[in-house]
């Protein structure tokens, strides 16, 4: 009898202490950890995704579908599956290099640095975004600015300032990360004059590939009214091992 009471007490004490520790632990999560957690949530060791991209312009819009594979920060591959004219076009990212296979001219082009700031496939994303977006954890210094709410969700508001060594065009990036799910819901990109350039909104939280992710990402360039790009994840699978050999220029040509 006494024994069981003691057990109860110790157990509840342990639970209490544990919960206190967890609570404190959460309080103590540094800004960097929050960003890392959010980043890990969307990335995983590897991923295979089925994506639709919509380009929205004041007078027209256009839709593309593609398959994307990624492994860590360094490797990713994108295969365009529609429209017919672009079908079979492949982009490969290996660390800091981007290659583009164009089947209609049977050429594999390594994108030169001068093309990095140009639009990727006519979207509001640049080729640079494709390469550098990965290093949001390593290449920035993070400061927690406080809490804010986005779409009725409580968020950490974190300011990210690029480290001097990083080749990043932004002066600062401010991100909003959901306190509950650690998902990035909003990001604002500022140029070197401190002017807001791009706003990225993430929404439609869904469970895909066994994880809760934001399945819709919208990019709005601030100075171009009516322009935006929407990325929709139709399906995504995480952590299925992919061999490094997959991300080679040779494989680009036979990808289906």
């Amino acid at each position: 009898m006494k024994k069981s009471q003691f057990l109860k007490f110790t157990l509840s004490a342990i639970f209490f202490i544990m919960s206190v520790i967890i609570a404190f632990g959460q309080q103590d999560l540094s800004a960097t950890d929050i960003v890392k957690k959010a980043d890990d949530n969307m990335r995983g060791k590897t991923s295979q995704a089925d994506i639709t991209i919509k380009i929205i312009r004041p007078t027209w819009s256009r839709e593309m579908t593609m398959k994307a594979w990624s492994k860590g920060d360094d490797y990713s591959m994108i295969l365009i599956t529609s429209p017919a004219k672009e079908k079979g076009t492949v982009f490969l990212k290996r660390t800091k290099e981007v290659w583009n296979w164009i089947p209609s001219i049977e050429r594999n082009i390594k994108l030169p640095p001068s093309m990095m700031s140009q639009s990727w496939m006519g979207t509001d994303f640049t080729n640079d975004d494709l390469v550098k977006e990965a290093s949001s954890v390593v290449d920035y210094d993070h400061t927690l600015l406080g809490k804010d709410s986005v779409l009725d969700k409580d968020c950490y508001k974190i300011q990210m300032i690029p480290k001097p060594s990083a080749a990043i065009v932004w002066e600062k990036v401010i991100v909003w990360i959901d306190i509950l799910d650690y998902l990035q819901l909003k990001a604002e990109f500022y140029d070197e004059d401190g002017a807001l350039v791009n706003i990225m909104n993430s929404s439609d939280i869904k469970v895909l590939g066994g994880r809760k992710i934001t399945s819709k990402i919208e990019m709005f360039p601030v100075d171009k009214k009516g322009n935006s790009t929407v990325i929709i994840y139709n399906d995504i699978v995480f952590d299925v091992p992919i061999n490094d050999n997959f991300f080679t220029t040779r494989n680009m040509k036979q990808l289906k």
Binding site: R57, R62, E86, S104, T123
Partner: protein
Amino acid sequence: MLLKLAWLNIWRNKRRTIITATSVFFAVLLAILFRSLTDGIYDNMIHNVVSYSSGYLQIHQRGYWDEQSIDNTFEEDEQLYKELLKNQNVAYLIPRLQTFALASYADKTKGVLLLGIDPAKEKMVNKLHEKIIDGEYIETINEKVVVLGEGLASQLKLKVNDTLVLLGQGYHASSAAAKYRVKGLIKLGAIELNNNVVYMPLKQSQLMHGAENRLSSVSVMLDKTKNLERLKESLLYSINPDLYEVMTWKEMMPELDQFIEADSTAHYIIVGVLYFIISFGLFGTLLMMIFERKHELGILIAIGMKRRLLVIILLLESILISLIGCFAGIIAGVMVVKWFTIHPIHLTGEIKQVYEEYGIESIIYFSSQEKIFVVQTLIVLVLSILLAFYPGYKVMKLKPVEAINS
């Protein structure tokens, strides 16, 4: 009465009148020929440059010129052609799809100007097929070949029948990538074009850019440079100004316009010197006349002729002489210019080569615009009238006694 007096007076001394009239005659003739020649050269130059590049006038979708992207192209429209051709000054319409792309052969890549053309229409207007130096000209609007500038070909180290890879930006953010057989090389006078241009059949270009039936511009060719601004207005009237914009070559190629402007300023100075010399010649004969007729004029005043009337007579005399000279000058000018418009001067030798290197026909045309004749004649006439005020002034100051005794 005064006119009659003046008329009789000028024929009293025929030699003097003829000398004066002749100096006016040559002044008018020289001024007309000089202007006609320079204007003719400019017109020819403009015609040559414009027929390869922009056309005298160009029609785009509204807003294209400020943002020359393929998204600002417009749909080819037979109705538009019909409306434009209603205007009598419009000789030809040339549809084009103009874009920029990367051209690549082996491991060389270069940015190029990609011109989707209707080969038959270009042939008619600027005789593009005659500039082919190797291979052949494009035959149909749908042939899967390209023709490129000889300068560009040598930079890419490419020959006829090699395959050129083109990579650009397609319509509405689609991709534009294709490869084509090089059918011919073309040598163009304008170095910039020669080093950068790739001609391809219009339909192929539209296909490659995913821009079926779309054009970036319709160039309007005229028989002659007429009043461009007015023509622009009237064309804009006949088509929908909310949809299209019309631009003159002066707006599209201000550098050519400025060059001509600067060059013709130099010519104005030369013409100015010419007028100066002519005025002194005229002034000389007038001085002589007043000196010879001092005695006569003195008597006229002494017997009661009003000085004012005398001045008017002298002025009329001088105007009559100038008019005779001017008319003779115009007639001779018209004849010379007519002769040279029918038989233009064909340059030979070194000058011919220089001209051809710049892509300008080595032929000197004379401009036969009415404006030249009228303006030049008026200038000489005004000059001679101004000069005639000097004898008038002398008469007003003439002392009859001294004059009679001299």
